[in-house]
Subunit: 125 residues, 2 copies
């Protein structure tokens, strides 16, 4: 699998709650950074755990995967029933078919109010 | 310029407050989406305006640009003095040397508290 295929397969296995299969796409010493919450998770077991233990009710729709060399970026939509529609912009580094580093920006749709000065320029999504 | 060069140059012109030069990298009918605030801005003039009129005090550091074909993703850090350190994950579509579509996820570092259940797995950034 090339790097784009690895990331596409990663989301497919997460969506299927195939946690063993998800772990097989991660390097032993994978590092996952979540800048919005200021967290860093180290190692395959803990990266699998934070995904597997996320409270249920979610699904995954992959919107886009863009890759060049060992760098891949994915854009996914993750509705969490009754809570929010999340979007993740995730920057992955893939080496020898394994994810070695991830940095994920988790957001949700319409989480913040637009600034008043921008109203004259913007439609509402 | 290829698509990656266009996006790299786009950030360089924004950083320089070269609003005329920035506009010359945008298609007439460019569309910019800001999902976190639920906004859509249409057309070169308005996309230039929302960048040019953003309250001052910011700088730009391009952390990463990943491109394949007409799709380019950039990760930039935007400190705004006294307010926050923003990060933008921006998905661009480039055709014939011009940006025709952008979707930007604007976040800030440590904006949200991590969930309590994840504390056992995460270091703080």
């Amino acid at each position: 699998m090339d790097a784009v295929d690895v990331v596409t397969e990663l989301w497919s296995r997460i969506a299927a709650r195939d946690w063993h299969g998800f772990g097989r796409l991660l390097a032993d010493d994978v590092v996952l950074e979540l800048p919005v919450t200021g967290e860093r998770i180290r190692g395959r077991a803990d990266v699998v755990a934070v995904n597997a233990e996320y409270p249920e009710g979610w699904s995954i729709e992959v919107l886009r995967v863009v890759g060049a060399g060992d760098q891949v970026v994915s854009e996914v939509e993750v509705p969490l029933a009754g809570v929010a529609v999340f979007r993740a912009a995730s920057f992955w580094t893939v080496r020898d078919g394994l994810v070695v580093h991830g940095r994920e920006y988790w957001t949700s749709l319409r989480a913040d109010e637009p600034p008043a000065w921008r109203e004259r320029y913007a439609e509402r999504l």
